[in-house]
């Protein structure tokens, strides 16, 4: 389906989004800045899946929307295929046709009063398809997401389809504009467990076969491990750890990543150590000064409370934003490791 053979790349440099809110109601409360996303840089490359793992409040959804340009960043740059994108100007149709976003809840992301056909036709028509081609293109999009035969689905209403099928329709809709870059914001967390892998396999297939660049946002680190070529962990709006392939899951170096991995239910390893209980002095879970994770960190040091740590290289393209690596790693500023090493999925 991909007529255009040029591959896509989306690079984000220092993307930041702050919201200013009043701490208490009324006109006279002190203003508080909520740093939803703070200085995040990443590169989405064709044929690679980049996974961003974080809990709610980590800023991952705001990041996705900034990449899709439906939220304007407070600062930072975006480069599409090497060309700078004017982030403060209105989003162009050309950008929309290159970068698409799939949302989390399949039941509410498709208009319930229209048939599936309508939801697929709109993006096709907006992006220049001719009226007589639309039917065939919509059917082709459904086949691409394994909804076969397309005729069976085109005339259905959303409430007649299951969650997994709806999410596939949602992905098909995004694919209708023929994007090079597909952003997926928690695409499987609202689906039944047994259908999740099907959708993950679909995303992986789009990446491998059609060379899309995919951003996969999730709170489930195991699913990130399943399809990612690069994994990024976010906490409180910042990237705290990043590695190629599954490096950071096999050997987590940041205390937050370690906490995450120790907390995930893993019946295959019942005797593993449970996460350490940290005696918290305050209820605050995100510090405003210094390392944001310091109130919850079992290895917290004085320097952590006062100074925000830079990103340290811990080897093999694996970086970690933690003072514990100050002696062992060199500081890595902005930019990504160039190594392309990463695990590929082998079929059993």
């Amino acid at each position: 389906m991909q007529n255009d053979t040029t591959l896509g790349q989306l690079e984000a440099r220092g993307l930041t989004r702050h919201y200013s809110m009043r701490a208490s109601a009324g006109f006279f409360g002190p203003k508080r800045i909520v740093r939803a996303v703070d200085d995040v840089s990443l590169t989405l490359k064709a044929g690679r899946v980049t996974a961003v793992v974080g809990e709610s409040g980590s800023g991952k959804s705001v990041l996705a929307r900034m990449l899709a340009r439906i939220i304007v960043p407070t600062s930072g740059e975006l480069l599409l295929d090497g060309t700078a994108v004017p982030v403060h100007a209105k989003r162009t149709l050309a950008y929309t046709s290159q970068v698409q976003l799939v949302l989390q809840d399949p039941f509410s992301s498709i208009n319930p009063v229209h048939r599936v056909r309508h939801s697929l036709e709109r993006p096709l028509l907006i992006h220049g398809a001719k009226k007589n081609e639309v039917e065939a293109l919509a059917a082709a999009a459904l086949e691409r997401v394994s909804l076969d035969p397309p005729a069976r689905y085109l005339d259905r209403y959303p409430h007649e389809l299951s969650g997994g099928q709806l999410q596939r329709v949602s992905i098909a809709r995004a694919l209708c504009v023929k994007p090079k870059i597909l952003l997926a914001d928690e695409p499987i967390s609202m689906l039944d467990v047994s259908v999740r892998l099907g959708v993950l396999n679909l995303l992986r297939g789009l990446c491998d076969n059609d060379k899309l660049a995919i951003l996969y946002i999730t709170h489930d680190i195991a699913s990130a491990r399943y399809i990612a070529d690069e994994t990024i962990v976010m906490y409180a709006g910042q990237v705290v750890e990043r590695s190629n392939g599954t490096g950071l899951i096999d050997e987590p170096t940041h205390p937050y990543t370690q906490l995450l991995i120790a907390s995930v239910p893993d019946p295959a390893d019942p005797t593993r150590a449970m996460p350490e209980k940290v005696d918290r002095l305050t209820q605050v879970s995100i510090a405003q000064k210094g390392c944001r994770f310091s109130p919850r960190c079992p290895h917290v040091m004085d320097v952590c409370r006062n100074n925000e740590p830079p990103m340290f290289d811990v080897g093999d393209g694996h970086v970690s934003k933690c003072w514990l690596h100050a002696t062992s790693g060199e500081i890595v500023d902005v930019g990504l490791p160039e190594t392309q090493r990463g695990g590929t999925i082998t079929k059993k």
Binding site: L93, T96, S109, I126
Partner: protein, 322 residues
Amino acid sequence: MSALKIPKSPKVLLGLIIVGFFLILTVIGPWIAPYNPSATTFAPNMTPSWAHWFGTTSLGQDIFSQLLVGARATMVVALLAGLVATALAMTIGIAAGYLGGPADEGLTMLSNVFLAIPGLPLLIVIDSYLPVADRSNEYVIGLVISLTGWAWGARVLRAQTLSLRNRDFVEASRIIGESRLRIMVTEVAPNLLPVLASSLLFTILYAIGAYVTLAYVGLTSTAVWNWGTMMFWAQSNNAPLAGQWYWYVPPGICIALVGTGLALLNFGIDEFINPRLRASGLTSRLRRRAGIPRRPRLGYTPVLRSARPSAVAKRLSTSSTK
């Protein structure tokens, strides 16, 4: 939308019948009226008889014919006013809700102004400024009425739109690059159909009341027959004092019936919106037989007392022998 089903609820069915009846009357009324309603050829002040089902006025006009002919003007004005007012409400409400910002503030202020001004006095004032020729034109009156009837619907639609615009599918439409106008018209508005329908019914109700009142106080031309004019004449000829109930009661009942019918239809829309109220196939006879109270209390799930296993249970328990 999915095919319209004949509603099973007795309330809605009754409402449909009533409103349907009067709509038919609107069309065929003047044709089936036995006499010319303005003709004063009959004996005045006659009580109801076979020749004159509702008797005659003090001028010798047949009341029944007046009723039938009057249905048309009343209903037409009410429908017209209702439709125009709802169209206005839709445009202003959805735009205000979706666009937000200064557009929203401006439009909301506009609707608040129209809401605050009392409708009927405003109508009377506007009407009294109309040239006499226009006063006899039902369409102009209808438009004037719609001007005072849109604000409430606009507020309701704005509130609904505000909640809809945060739904994912609206965001998804923005993501694929849909224009704002198209989103409002093709994505948001269809989801508002139940509220729109309800708003329309209420506005028609209001319009009937407004039109009848205008006629009753004599602000519309008496050349056009409508139920309000009938009551105007009845009042000015002291019909209540003379005991001529057959003059002013029938139009009053007709107005009340139309209102009731519209209100019952509104129940139907409520049921349509709330699927839980749509108990498909769950008739009361079956329910009583099953031993379930009419309104099961929360916290006391009913236990079926039927000794016979249901058809479902029978099929599910076939075969397994162990």
